[in-house]
């Protein structure tokens, strides 16, 4: 083995890495926010009595969950222009990520909605809670608490998925890696650094999630 590792390529381009991290976070936050809206709409459709909404929602969830994200991304970026809808790499990336996250969060939010029992609302009424109090203390916060762990792990997966959009040359952390790799040929060093940065991002998100859980949902462990 006569290859010597040189991590100087990482230190010398630290600015690019930081830019990449910021772009990745921006991409993740934008697409997860839109995706969550889609997920709530999907869950409303999934739990509604209207068969049309229900069917659309099931089809959406199953089709997205059973096809690879890369194909969905290519469909939006390469496929849509041929029917006259041209998207920039960044737009295609946000749309594909949001639609993907929406499908997974539909199932999660649905579980949260279905987890609230009618008896609890009635108990709230019997205790003389006002409508808004019932919504806040009995419906919203416990439902959020129920879906919170699943939602956090889905968010982590979504952040890791953002790396795929480098394939349509949307600029984020992995794109920075490909760029540096092609200029310096220090592929192992560059990709190892980037992999570790992703681990760092994931840990950071998990730590924040843990603090939020302790602050807002600490009571959940007593409810079951």
């Amino acid at each position: 083995m006569d290859y010597t590792l040189q991590f100087s390529v990482v230190w010398n381009n630290i600015g690019l890495f930081i830019q990449g991290v910021l772009l990745t976070l921006q991409l993740a936050i934008t697409s997860i926010s839109f995706g969550l809206i889609l997920g709530i709409l999907g869950a409303l459709g999934r739990t509604s009595d209207n068969r049309l909404f229900n069917g659309i929602s099931i089809a959406y969830v199953e089709f997205i969950r059973n096809t690879p994200f890369l194909i969905q991304l290519f469909f939006f970026f390469f496929g849509l222009p041929s029917i006259g809808l041209r998207l920039s790499p960044w737009q295609a990336a946000v749309i594909a990520l949001a639609i993907n996250f929406g499908a997974y969060s539909t199932e999660i939010v649905r579980a949260g909605i279905e987890g609230i029992r009618k008896g609890q609302i009635e108990a709230g009424l019997a205790l003389g809670f006002k409508k808004l109090q019932i919504f806040r203390h009995i419906v919203l916060i416990p439902a959020l608490g129920n879906i919170y762990p699943a939602l956090v792990s889905q968010i982590v997966i979504a952040i890791l998925f953002t790396s795929v959009v480098s394939q349509i040359s949307a600029e984020e952390l992995t794109f920075v890696g490909n760029y540096l790799q092609s200029r310096t040929f220090r592929s192992f060093e560059v990709y190892l650094a980037i992999a570790l940065i992703y681990v760092g991002i994931v840990w950071l998100i998990k730590a924040i999630a843990f603090l939020i859980q302790k602050r807002f949902f600490a009571f959940m462990q007593y409810t079951r």
Partner: protein, 217 residues
């Protein structure tokens, strides 16, 4: 410049699907073997055996699969001075990826076995290996079947990323054909439908098994 007719496109994509299936099978079976060992390490009472396996799982679950493919394909070739083919690199990367997730799924099932089972089998004088073999694993395996089948779907979808390092499977050949025919909309739709036909039955099976086990226990 070649013109493809619709049946030709379809045949070509289906031919490429073979490699998607083969790669998925390798990754799943290989990942199963490695994952089983990692799971055994992960449940070990000895922390010097346990910690490395935790680190392993944390790394592969905390980095994008694409990055793992790059690290294997570009990184290993440089470091070990092997010239890895896309085939080998994809097989290695997907195997390690699957092993991390499978070991985590299986660890969950083992840890879900009530402590009383361990205590009872200790009381019966079984040693650690016998306990695992006769008491714990048979019960854990039953519990872990639905999520394991569900994970097979993730592996099949994951193989699409191997196209990025030049492994010719369904996604790669869809890209290539759409570059020639200029019909990306049609071709990626067909590719998506083929993936759906591979994954959806497994998803359904996983859900059905989950219900079955839920009622039985």
């Amino acid at each position: 410049m070649q013109d493809f007719t619709l049946p030709q496109i379809f045949t070509n994509l289906l031919l490429a699907t073979r490699w998607t299936i083969v790669l998925s099978a390798i990754a799943f079976v290989g990942g199963g073997f490695v994952g089983f060992l990692v799971m055994l390490m992960r449940i070990s009472p000895n922390k010097f055996i346990r910690y490395p396996s935790m680190l392993y799982v944390e790394f592969f679950q905390g980095t994008p699969l694409l990055m793992q493919l790059f690290l294997t394909f570009f990184g290993l070739s440089v470091i070990l001075d092997w010239n890895l083919s896309p085939w080998t690199a994809a097989a290695i990367a997907l195997t390690t990826y699957s092993s991390a997730f499978l070991s985590d799924i299986w660890r969950g099932s083992v840890e879900a076995i009530p402590k009383g089972q361990w205590e009872a089998s200790t009381a019966l004088g079984l040693n650690y290996v016998r306990q695992l073999q006769r008491v714990i694993l048979p019960q854990a395996v039953k519990m872990s079947i639905p999520p394991t089948v569900g994970f097979a779907v993730q592996v099949i979808k994951g193989t699409s990323l191997a196209s990025v390092i030049g492994f010719v499977e369904l996604t790669r050949s869809a890209t290539a054909i759409s570059n020639v025919t200029f019909q990306p909309f049609l071709i990626f739709t067909i590719a998506a439908i083929i993936y759906f036909c591979l994954c959806f039955p497994l998803s359904l099976l996983s859900k059905r098994l989950e219900h079955q086990f839920a009622y039985r226990t």
